[in-house]
C-alpha cells in the first residue's frame, strides 16, 4: 500500500495532500484493486474451468460467445444471471437469507487484504497477516451456515451442516501445515515469509526439507476441502444434496456464492504461493521486471491443478472425509511440524 500512497503523493506533488487523505486514497485504491481481482478471477477461472473440464472430458467446452474459444462466455453468463428472477422461498428466514451471501463474500474479500503480490504491493502489510487471513476466511463458515439454515430446506441444512463441519475441521490441518513455515520464517507477516524464500528455488519453503514438502501437500489438499471442491465437495454434492446450502438461491444472490467460491479458490492458491512456493521469487534470470506476474502465474498453476483434481477424482463420503482430516492429515501435520523443528535445530544455523 505504501507504494500506492507514494504514487499518489508523487502525482499530486509532495506536501499538497495531507497524510490522512493519502491513506484514505491508498486504501480505497487497494480495495478497488482487490475487488477487481476477485471479479476477474471469477471470470477467468469459470472460463478456465470449463475449458479444462472440456479438455479432460474430450469435448470443447464453450466455443461460441466471443469468437475465440468462447472467451466471452463468463460475461454472457454474468449478464444472464443478472436478469434472473430473484426468488426468496416463502418460508425462508428473509433477513438471514439475504444476509448470508454477503457474509460469505465479505469473508473471502477481507482475506485478500494481506496477500503480497509483489514487493510492497500488499493492501495491508499486517504483522500477523497469516493469522489474519485465516481469521477472515473463517467467517465464510458463518455465511454457509446462515444460508443453509435460512433457506428452510432440509437439503440446504444438510449442506450447511456438512460445510461447517468440513471447513472447521480442515482449518486445523491447514493451519498446522503452515506453522513450520512460520517457524522457519520467524514471522507471521506475509511479506516477511515471502522475503525469507528469496534467492533460488531451494529456498522455497516447500523444498526446504522433506517435512515441509509434506506440509505443503497437506496444505494443498486441505485447501481443496476449504473451498468445497471435488473430492471434498460434500456441502454441495448435486447428486446427494441437490445443491447443498445454496439450493434455494437464484440470480444475483447465487452469483455471490459462485463469485466467492472462485475467489476462495484463487485465494488459497495465492496463500500457498506466498507461503510455500516463494511468492514472486523465481529461478529464471531476466524475469525480475514483473514480480506480480510471477506470483500470479504460480497461483494460476495451483488453481489449474485443483481443477484437474476436480475433474479426475470421485467424491468422498462424509465419514471418510472426517477420517482423512482427523486421523490422517492432522497427525501427519503434527509430525511434520515436529520434524521441521528437529530439522531446523539439526541443519539450520540461526543467524
Amino acid at each position: 500500500m505504501e507504494q500506492v500512497t507514494a504514487l499518489f503523493a508523487r502525482i499530486a506533488g509532495a506536501g499538497t495532500l495531507s497524510p490522512q487523505l493519502l491513506l484514505w486514497l491508498g486504501a480505497l485504491t487497494m480495495a478497488l484493486i482487490m475487488a477487481l481481482v476477485m471479479a476477474a478471477c471469477a471470470i477467468v477461472f469459470t472460463w478456465a474451468e470449463r475449458k479444462v473440464a472440456g479438455f479432460i472430458q474430450s469435448r470443447y467446452g464453450p466455443m461460441r460467445v466471443g469468437r475465440w474459444h468462447g472467451i466471452a462466455q463468463p460475461i454472457a453468463d454474468m449478464l444472464k444471471i443478472l436478469q434472473k428472477e430473484d426468488i426468496i422461498p416463502a418460508d425462508a428466514d428473509r433477513k438471514f437469507f439475504i444476509l448470508a451471501p454477503f457474509v460469505l463474500f465479505i469473508g473471502s474479500l477481507m482475506a485478500w487484504a494481506a496477500i503480497p503480490f509483489a514487493p510492497g504491493f500488499v493492501a495491508a502489510d499486517l504483522d500477523m497477516g497469516l493469522l489474519y487471513i485465516f481469521a477472515a476466511s473463517s467467517l465464510v463458515t458463518i455465511g454457509i451456515l446462515m444460508s443453509g439454515w435460512a433457506s428452510n430446506n432440509k437439503w440446504s441444512l444438510y449442506g450447511a451442516a456438512r460445510g461447517a463441519a468440513q471447513i472447521v475441521s480442515y482449518e486445523i490441518p491447514l493451519a498446522l501445515a503452515v506453522v513450520p513455515v512460520v517457524l522457519y520464517a520467524g514471522s507471521l507477516n506475509m511479506t516477511d515469509i515471502v522475503v525469507a524464500q528469496q534467492g533460488g528455488i531451494w529456498k522455497w519453503f516447500a523444498l526446504r526439507n522433506p517435512f515441509l514438502f509434506v506440509s505443503f501437500l497437506i496444505y494443498f489438499l486441505a485447501s481443496i476441502a476449504e473451498v468445497n471442491r471435488t473430492p471434498f465437495d460434500l456441502p454441495e454434492t448435486e447428486s446427494e444434496l441437490v445443491a447443498g446450502y445454496h439450493t434455494e438461491y437464484s440470480g444475483m444472490r447465487f452469483a455471490f456464492f459462485f463469485l466467492a467460491e472462485y475467489a476462495n479458490l484463487f485465494l488459497v492458491s495465492c496463500i500457498a504461493t506466498a507461503v510455500f512456493l516463494g511468492g514472486w521469487g523465481h529461478p529464471v534470470p531476466g524475469l525480475n521486471f514483473a514480480p506480480a506476474l510471477v506470483f500470479l502465474a504460480k497461483a494460476v498453476l495451483l488453481v489449474l491443478a485443483q481443477i484437474w483434481i476436480r475433474w479426475t477424482l470421485p467424491r468422498l463420503r462424509v465419514d471418510q472425509l472426517m477420517h482423512v482430516c482427523w486421523k490422517v492429515m492432522i497427525p501427519l501435520a503434527l509430525v511434520c511440524l515436529a520434524g521441521s523443528g528437529v530439522w531446523m535445530l539439526a541443519f539450520v544455523r540461526f543467524a
Binding site: 479432460i56 471435488t230 454434492t237 447428486s239 446427494e240 444434496l241 479426475t312 467424491r315 462424509v318
Partner: protein
C-alpha cells in the same frame, strides 16, 4: 423336463393339483387357494424354485371364479419353469407368498392394486402403482380405459407412531427416560420424486439420524401410465412402440423380447437373418443400457468425467440406431415375425468402429476408477447383498450376477440362437456396488464380443417370415393388388389373429430378465399382457439395502441397481 416335474407334483399332492398343462415348456399347475401355500412351499424347498419371477393376475369377468393369479417360478439349478395358477372369486383372498419369497410383497401389492385381489397375511397390502386415493381397479375389464381420476394428496409413508418407534430404537436406552419433550431426533427427508439422484421419478422417504439412514420406505408409480391396460386396447402390433417406453435406455431389447413373446404364442419360427439381427441390436441396446447406468452411477459418486467417456460411445450407438430405425430413443424396430426392415448398408463397419471406441472408453474409465482409492472406499462393501437374499428378492441380471451366481437367460434358455455364440458370463463375488459396476463393465465387453461374432456370420436371406397372416405385405402389393390391400387392411384394423392361449416370453434385458406374460383370447388384441420388469423386484429391496448406511451410500446403491422408472412403473 416339465412332464416329469408335473408327475412328481401330482404324486405328491394328488387331487390338490386341479389340473396341469405344459405350455411352451412351462409347467403349469392349477391349485385351489387353500392349497397354494403348501404347493408353493414345496416348489421352493423341494424343487429348488428359488426365484419368484412375477405374480400376474388376469381378469375373466364371465367366469364364476373371476380372477386368476399366476405365480411365475423358476428353478435355476434344475431349469424348471413353473406357473402356479390360482382361481379366486371376487373378494376371495389368496394366501400371501411373502414368507416364501420377499419379492412377493410388491408383486402381490401390484395384483391387489390393479385387480383388487386381496392377499391374506400380506404385511403391507397397499396400492403400489396407482395413487392411494385412486378408486376401483384399473386392470379389471369393467374399468373403462378412458376414466381418469384426479388424485393430488401426498402419501405419508411413515406414520408418526413409526417415526417415534424408530427414533426410540436408534437412541436406545440412553434416551428412554428422556422426558425433555423434544420431538424425535430423526429427520424425515424425502429423496425424490424429484431429486438429481433418482434419474426419474421415484420417491424414498428416509428417517435420518444425522447422515445415517435409520429407516427407509420407497414409493413408486410416478410414471405409471398403465401400459398393460393400453396393451389390451391395441392390436398386438400396436403395442410395439409402447414397449419402447418401458426401459427407455434399451428400447430395442424390449422390442425384440415383445416380438419374441408374441411369436411364442403364435408358434412361428423367425428367419436366421432376423435372429442374428435381433441378437446384434439387442446387444447394442444392452451396451447403451449399461453405459447409461455406469455413467450415471459414476456421476452420483462424483466422478463426473467418466460420464463423457461413456456417453460419447452411447452417442455413437445412438447414431447407429438413428440410421437404423429413424429415431434414437424410441426405436420401434422389431416386428412380430421379423423386423421393420433390414440393416442399412455400412451398418457392420459403423458398428465395428463404435465397438472399437467402446473398448477404449472401458479402458479409460476402468483406468480412472477401478483401482482408485476413493472409488473403492465408496463402493466396496456398500449395499452388499448375499446370493440367497438376492434370489429371495427376485434379483436377475447384473445385480444377481454380482453376487456370484452365473444366471443369464441367454445361457439358461437360449433364444434368438444365443447358443451359437461364444461368450462368458461375468460374475462378482460380494454382491456390492463395486461388483455390480464391474460386472456391467465386463458384460459390455462380452456384448461387444457377441456383436462381432454375429456380424461376422450374419446369414443372408429374408428378414421376415413368409406368412401373410403375420407380416404386412410389401407396399407394391398393397397399392398394386386387391389381395395385398385386403391383407394390409385386415392386419392393420383387426390385428394379427393370435390363437387363444398363454405364453410367457422372456429374455435377458439390460437389468435382468425381462418377460411378457401374454394371454390371448383368439382376437387381434391381447386379453392380458403382464410385463415382468427386472428392476421392479430389485427396487423393492432398495429400502432394505440402504438402512444402516449413509445418504451418499444410498445414492451410490441406487445408481448401481439401475432403476429405470419407465420400466418400474409401466
Amino acid at each position: 423336463m416339465s412332464r416329469k416335474l408335473l408327475e412328481r407334483l401330482q404324486q405328491e399332492f394328488g387331487t390338490a393339483i386341479l389340473r396341469t398343462a405344459d405350455q411352451h415348456g412351462d409347467a403349469v399347475i392349477w391349485v385351489a387357494p387353500k392349497d397354494a401355500t403348501v404347493v408353493l412351499r414345496h416348489l421352493r424347498d423341494r424343487e429348488q424354485c428359488e426365484l419368484l419371477l412375477d405374480v400376474a393376475g388376469v381378469d375373466y369377468p364371465e367366469r364364476a371364479k373371476r380372477f386368476e393369479v399366476n405365480y411365475l417360478l423358476r428353478s435355476l439349478a434344475r431349469a424348471h419353469r413353473v406357473r402356479v395358477k390360482i382361481d379366486v372369486a371376487e373378494g376371495e383372498a389368496v394366501e400371501s407368498a411373502t414368507p416364501l419369497w420377499r419379492c412377493a410383497d410388491w408383486h402381490e401389492r401390484e395384483v391387489f392394486d390393479l385387480l383388487g385381489v386381496p392377499f391374506r397375511g400380506h404385511p403391507d397390502l397397499r396400492r403400489i402403482l396407482c395413487h392411494h386415493e385412486f378408486e376401483g381397479h384399473a386392470l379389471r375389464k369393467d374399468y373403462p380405459i378412458e376414466q381418469g381420476q384426479p388424485c393430488v394428496s401426498t402419501e405419508k409413508l411413515f406414520g408418526d407412531h413409526e417415526i417415534e418407534q424408530a427414533s426410540r430404537r436408534s437412541e436406545g436406552v440412553a434416551a428412554a427416560g428422556d422426558e425433555s419433550g423434544l420431538p424425535s431426533d430423526l429427520l424425515t427427508v424425502n429423496i425424490g420424486p424429484s431429486h438429481p439422484a433418482t434419474h426419474g421419478a421415484l420417491r424414498v422417504e428416509v428417517l435420518l439420524d444425522g447422515e445415517t439412514v435409520v429407516r427407509a420406505r420407497s414409493e413408486i408409480g410416478y410414471l405409471h401410465r398403465c401400459f398393460e391396460k393400453e396393451a389390451e386396447d391395441h392390436t398386438w402390433h400396436e403395442v410395439m412402440p409402447y414397449t419402447d417406453r418401458l426401459n427407455y435406455c434399451s428400447a430395442l431389447l424390449n422390442n425384440a423380447i415383445w416380438a419374441h413373446s408374441v411369436e411364442k404364442l403364435l408358434g412361428v419360427q423367425i428367419t436366421p437373418r432376423c435372429r442374428a439381427i435381433r441378437v446384434i441390436v439387442s446387444e447394442l441396446a444392452r451396451l447403451t443400457d449399461h453405459l447409461v447406468c455406469l455413467a450415471a452411477n459414476l456421476v452420483d459418486i462424483g466422478a463426473l468425467t467418466n460420464y463423457w467417456y461413456l456417453y460419447n460411445v452411447r452417442e455413437g450407438i445412438y447414431q447407429i440406431f438413428d440410421k437404423l430405425c429413424g429415431s434414437r430413443l424410441t426405436t420401434n424396430y422389431a416386428r412380430i415375425g421379423g423386423m421393420s426392415h433390414d440393416l442399412y448398408p455400412g451398418f457392420a463397419e459403423e458398428t465395428l468402429f463404435h465397438l472399437g471406441r467402446l473398448d477404449e472408453a472401458i479402458r479409460d474409465v476402468t483406468g480412472l476408477v477401478a483401482r482408485n482409492r476413493i472409488f473403492l472406499d465408496r463402493t466396496v462393501g456398500v449395499g452388499a447383498i448375499s446370493r440367497e437374499e438376492a434370489l429371495s428378492w427376485g434379483y436377475t441380471g447384473p445385480c444377481l450376477r454380482a453376487t456370484g451366481l452365473a444366471y443369464d437367460v441367454r445361457r439358461f434358455a437360449p433364444y434368438f440362437g444365443y447358443e451359437e455364440y461364444d461368450f462368458d458370463i461375468p460374475v462378482g463375488e460380494h454382491g456390492d456396488t463395486y461388483d455390480r459396476i464391474m460386472v456391467r463393465f465386463e458384460e459390455m465387453k462380452q456384448s461387444a464380443r457377441i456383436i462381432r461374432q454375429a456380424l461376422r456370420k450374419l446369414p443372408e436371406g429374408p428378414v421376415n417370415i413368409d406368412d401373410p397372416r403375420v407380416i404386412l405385405p410389401p407396399k407394391e402389393s398393397v397399392y398394386g393388388s386387391i389381395e395385398g390391400m385386403m391383407n394390409q387392411f385386415k392386419l392393420i384394423y383387426e390385428g394379427i389373429q393370435v390363437p387363444a392361449g398363454e405364453a410367457y416370453g422372456f429374455g435377458e434385458g439390460g437389468n435382468g430378465e425381462l418377460g411378457f406374460f401374454c394371454v390371448s383370447n383368439g382376437t387381434g388384441r391381447p386379453w392380458r399382457v403382464k410385463v415382468r420388469p427386472p428392476c421392479f423386484p430389485i427396487f423393492s429391496s432398495y429400502s432394505r439395502l440402504i438402512e444402516g448406511g449413509m445418504i451418499p451410500d444410498a445414492i451410490a446403491i441406487l445408481g448401481s441397481l439401475n432403476i429405470i422408472a419407465g420400466e418400474l412403473d409401466r
